[in-house]
Each structure stands twice: as C-alpha cells, then as structure tokens.
C-alpha cells in the first residue's frame, strides 16, 4: 500500500511545476471544464478540440525528450507517420469488429517504440548528440516522407491496404469499442473526445510521475551535464534511449489518434514543415515543464487556427511575429514564464 502511495506521490516533485492547492485547484477546475463542456457545445467545437488533443501526445513526447532530456529530435513526425500508417494498414486489413481497432492502436504504438529503439540505439550508442542528432532524425523523417510519397502504384500494398503514395491512405475505420449489443464507433465527436481526453490525462500524470522519479532526475542530470552524470556511474546512453523511445512512442500515439479522427494519413505529415511544428509548439509553451508544454501547445494550435480563419493572408505573418515575440520576451516559454510569475518561485525551490 505504501509503495502505491509512494508511486502516486511522484505526481508532485522537483521536475514539475505546481505541487500545492494553488496549482491543483485551478488545474482541477480546468479538467472539470474539459469534461463538462461537450454538454454545452456543438459538434464542431468538440471535434475541433479533440483534433487539437491528437497533437498533444507528440508535444508531450517532445517535452520529455527535449525539455527533460535535452535531446532535440526532429523525428517526431516520422513516428507520427509510422503510427498512423500502421493503424491504417491493420484496420484496412482486419476491419473494425472485435476490438481490432484497439489492437491496431496498441500495435502502432508498439511498432513506433520498436523503431525508436533501433534508431535510438543507432544514435545514442553511436555517441551522436546535439544538432547532429537533430539532423539525423530530420533526415529519417524526410526519407520516410519521400519514400512514402511515391508509393502510388498498385504494387505498393500491404495486404488489402494500398499505401497510395502522396494522395494518402483513407477509408480506414474510426476507433471502435467492442460492446455487447453493438460496437460503438467513435468518429470525431463527443465519444472520441472523451476517450482521447482520458488517455491524455493518463499520459500527463504518467509523465509527471516518470520525471519526478529516479529516471527523471537522472535524465535531467544528464541534460545539465552529461559528463558529470557519466562520472557518477550512470550509463547516459540508456537513459537517453529510454526517453527517446517513450517520446517517440507518444508521437506514434498522436499519429494513430489523428488517423482515427480524420480517417486519413499522408506523407505530408512527415515533411520538413511538419517536423518543425512540434518544436515550435513546445518552445512557445515552455519545454522545461510538462504542464507548460501541453498548455502551450494547445494554446498555440488554437491561436494559429484562429489566425488562419480570421486573418486571411496575414495569418502566417502574424504567426511569425508571435514566434519572434515569444522567443525574445519569454525565452523559456510563455506558459512557463506565467507559472514562474504566478507562483513566484523557480522550479527547483519547492
């Protein structure tokens, strides 16, 4: 019993912001609103917020790898693509009955984790770090994109699922929950929204516990000073690999949810532009803290969309200005800056 209590006490800790009621009560209110608002809202807004949520897993994974681990990976979109395409291939071949979509989700995340292990082994045990790692992961993303974009011909199929090249794969079923008396299909709508919100919360609390545990503390120590961590006897590569695998698997989860939401996945999701976006979201929120990253990513997605809807041709310019302002005035991240100001303390002094 006390082990369980110790496990859950890690929700608060030195690596994450907020530990007292001043943090948890507002957050609790926010979560309550998140659960209740579909009752007062329309289909479009629910589907749109669910859409934003699909990207947050990728942001969470990047925050873990980059914010806590110091590893900047441009490869989140590669794993996003792997997750999405695997889900599509499995469900197009085996249908949606009997919970196949759930198995497909798990399989996609697992495949992402396996590929991440192989790639990570190649990178970290080859002592590749810093910007070199960024470029190699970027090269992998673009390699996948270029390769997939030309798989338009009929010979490019895995079972029943045509990869369909640049036009992308569509027609896969939405997430379907097996239920006695009739399977519940969850296209973008309230049902899907609740599923994704709940899983998002599990991931959020899971990461909080992870980074406040021994693993997280060592990861941060490696970020601060890898040589010192090595001198103290920790195998730096193993921890970096661990963070990379978890972070990339989360990106695959993002890919699966995106594919479930839109019934579509395309190689453009793995392009240079797409690869830079998660970095921008997390940077605006504040990569040093998981709460800041997620809230920042959500805010950025919403603001960018609103600008595009209302700003016509000037939307992209305003986004650029926003990024500049953010970097120059709040380099650690807008949300993180806000937290610091509100809680009037730095993260280490709890």
């Amino acid at each position: 019993m006390s082990r369980l209590r110790e496990f859950f006490s890690r929700i608060n800790g030195p690596q994450t912001f907020g530990s007292g009621p001043r943090f948890w009560i507002p957050l609790g209110v926010l979560l309550l609103i998140a659960y209740v608002f579909p009752l007062f809202s329309d289909d479009y807004t629910i589907g749109n917020v669910a859409y934003f949520f699909t990207w947050l897993f990728m942001a969470a994974g990047l925050c873990l790898m980059w914010g806590y681990g110091g590893t900047l990976s441009f490869g989140q979109t590669a794993f996003f693509g792997i997750g999405g395409y695997t889900y599509g291939i499995v469900t197009l071949n085996f249908g949606a009955d009997n919970g196949v979509t759930i198995y497909a989700l798990v399989a996609s995340v697992l495949l992402g984790a396996i590929v991440a292990t192989l790639l990570g082994y190649f990178l970290f045990y080859g002592r590749i770090n810093g910007v070199f790692l960024g470029i190699v992961t970027l090269a992998v993303s673009i390699l996948l994109e270029r390769f997939m974009a030309q798989t338009a011909g009929p010979q490019w199929r895995i079972g029943e699922a045509r990869l369909n090249g640049f036009n992308g794969m569509n027609g896969m079923p939405a997430l379907t929950i097996p239920w006695p008396g009739g399977d519940i299909s969850l296209p973008a709508g309230a049902g899907f929204y609740y599923v994704i919100l709940s899983i998002l919360l599990i991931v959020y609390f899971g990461i909080r516990i992870l980074v406040n545990s021994r693993f997280g503390n060592i990861l941060v120590a490696i970020r601060e000073n890898p040589q010192r961590a090595e001198m103290l006897g920790y195998d730096v590569r193993r921890f970096q690999l661990g963070a990379f695998v978890i972070g990339s698997a989360l990106a695959s989860l993002s890919g699966v949810f995106y594919t479930c939401w839109g019934q579509y996945i395309t190689p453009s999701s793995m392009s240079l532009t797409s690869a830079a976006l998660p970095i921008v979201w997390v940077a605006i929120g504040g990569r040093g803290d998981i709460t800041a990253s997620l809230l920042g990513a959500l805010l950025t997605l919403a603001v960018f969309q609103t600008l595009t809807v209302n700003g016509a041709q000037y939307a992209l310019i305003m986004m650029g200005v926003l990024l500049l302002v953010n970097v120059l005035t709040a380099p650690e991240g807008l949300i993180l800056q806000l937290f610091r100001f509100r809680f009037k303390l730095s993260p280490r002094s709890q």
Partner: protein, 408 residues
Amino acid sequence: MTRLSLITALSGILISTSLAADPPIKIGVLEDQSGDFALATICKVHGIQLAADEINAKGGIAGRPIQLIIYDTQSDNTRYQEFMRRVLQKDKADVVFAGFSSASREAYRPIVDQLHGLCFYNNQYEGGVCDANMIVTGAVPEQQFSTLIPWMMEKYGKKVYTIAANYNFGQISAEWVRNIVKQNGGEMVGEEFIPLGVSQFSQTIKNIQAAKPDFVVTLLVGTAQSSYYEQARAGGLELPMASSVNVGQGYEHKRFKPPTLANMYVTTNYIEEIDTPESKDFVKRWRAKFPNEPYINQEGENSYLAVYLYKEMVEKANGSTKIPDIRKAIATGGISFDAPEGKVTIDPKSQHMSHTIYLAKVNDDHSISFPKIWPDIKPYWLGEAGADLTKSNPHTQYTPSDPPKKAE
C-alpha cells in the same frame, strides 16, 4: 411603450421577417491562398467570387442570394480537414468548393462523406473518384491524353519520353500516356519520375538526349519542377513537348522568358488566350473585377462555371439544396451550362464533367495558337470501367490498375 411605437415595432418585425424569408445559399470555399500552391489557386477564389456576384445581380439561386464563406487552407492538408469540418458543421454550408492537390481532396473526402456534405472538386487530376458526395469539374486523363498523344504522334513521330512528377497524379498520367502510345503503335523510349520539390535536372536532360525521342511528355507539378523548362532550353534540348499540366495551370509561358517553352503543346479546357466571343467576354468581365489578376487559368474557369452548374442543379431540384434532390437532378443527365470554354455537361454515372479540349501551342515568342479543338469530350473512363453512381456509391477513388469490378 405607446401603442404607436408598439405597432411600429411589430410592423418592423413583420417586414424584417418577410425579408429574411430568403436565407442565403452558403457556398464554402476552401482554397490555398498562401503556401506552395497559391500560384495556381488564387484565381479559383476570384472565379467563384465573379460568378457569385453575377448570379446575385440577377436574383441569386432560386431567388436566394449566394453567401461565400472563404477559408485559406495554406497548401496544408490538415487545414483542409479542419476547415471542411468547420464549414460543414459550424457554418452549415450548403455546398463546398474545395481542393487543389489530390492529397487535399483525399484528406477532406472522408469528412464530406461522414457529414453528408456536397463538394465540388474543380481541378484537373488523375481521375477515378467515384463518390456521390463529390462533383468533379476538373479535366481527367481520358479527356486530355486521348486527344493530345495521338495528335503529337501523328505530327512528330512515335518515340516518346515521359518525365512525370513522382506521385499519384504523375504516375497515373504516365500510365495513361504509356497505354495510349502503345495503342497507337508507338514506343516509350524512356520514363522518368521526379520527386516533388526537385529543381535540378541536369541528369534528366542528359537521359533525354541519350534516348533520342521524337517528343517529350512533361507532367511536371509544382513550381520547383517547372524549372526544368529553363534548364532544358539552356542545355540545348529543343524537342517538342506535350503536357496536360503546364501552361494551363501555372501559366509558365507568361513567367519564363521566350523561347523557353517554344514548341510546347498543351491540352487544356481553358486558358485566357482562347479567342471565342464567349471567352473574350468572360476575360473582360473578369479583368474588370480583378484588374491585377496575373492569369486566368483552367482552374479559375472551372471554379466559375461550377457555381453556375450548382445554380442549375438547385433550380432543377425546385430550389432544394438537399443532396438526394440534387442527385436526382443530376441523374436526368441534363445539367449543362454554356461556359466560356463551350457547353459543359455533368455525366450522371461519374458526376464528372464533359469538356471542350483546346490544343494550345506555345509559339517562339510565347504567344498561343490553337491548332485543334475537340468539342464535348466526355469523361468516359469510369462509366466504361463499370462505375455508376446512379446505382451504387462506393465512396472511393479508382485507378487504371485498380478499376471498379465489372457488374455481374
């Protein structure tokens, strides 16, 4: 409140409700006004705006004014998904005109199907979309290649080299070219597929010279790939070229210095140089409203006539914008419009459109002449391959190597 003001208020309400008895017909427009594709698509929005203004000036569709809801999709597939959902669920548009690249169309098509929307795709593409919620006014390969390739082979010779963009549109178009060349007794001396975004062609130019074709079929997509023409000319390659994509979409003949595109033949359903009286009048009206338009391309004209076709459909369906009524109107086979290119008709089996195909030749000074015109070429492939939307709705896209199964 005095009795007089009460009466005034009541009559005010009565008048305003009677005026509000004709709610507008909402047309959603999802086009790329920024990003990589903006060059070819900005004028699509203008075409729709011109048509909407003209129709509203004459009383609207079945007496209701058109209201345009325009979103900039930034050449980004995810924006298509976001905004298609928005325009159908939030804005409650009656019909949507959307998409340039086939990827964007395939991205939004599941959403259109799921939300039971109606969408016009006004772009040339690789053909094969068989979906009752989609109406396609763009030209398809059987319209562009079955006219172009035999003509080129007759004029220049039977040895053909194809360079195509390496994705669905390029690969399927190249397949069409290959089949037609074979049917006409010709020989493919080479085929090269270029990834999107590539702008350097020295090796390709060398390969073409080695193969010694009689003409080159160029199916290059995107502004980076169109750099080929400049480099080919500079590299001394002066073979005649045939294309279904360039000039008609990206007006390369206006942007490149002559004689880069000399001896290029393009089959297009419309370009602004067409000198029929209808076309000249259309260009005049367009330029009166949009004096700074760089060029009026085939997608602009498709978008313009699509609004009129929708008007036809709604009016033939007795003013209803509900999809089953509109589909019944289409199934009669009589939805037509006298467009700037000529008369166009919607084919009920595929919900694609017939076209007048113009063969445009780019001269040495980059002026255009029209050696041949094929009126009323129907989009026959889907129907001949066994698809029939009046009977079944497969919600899918077929390709020549993945055709609908023939009905038993």
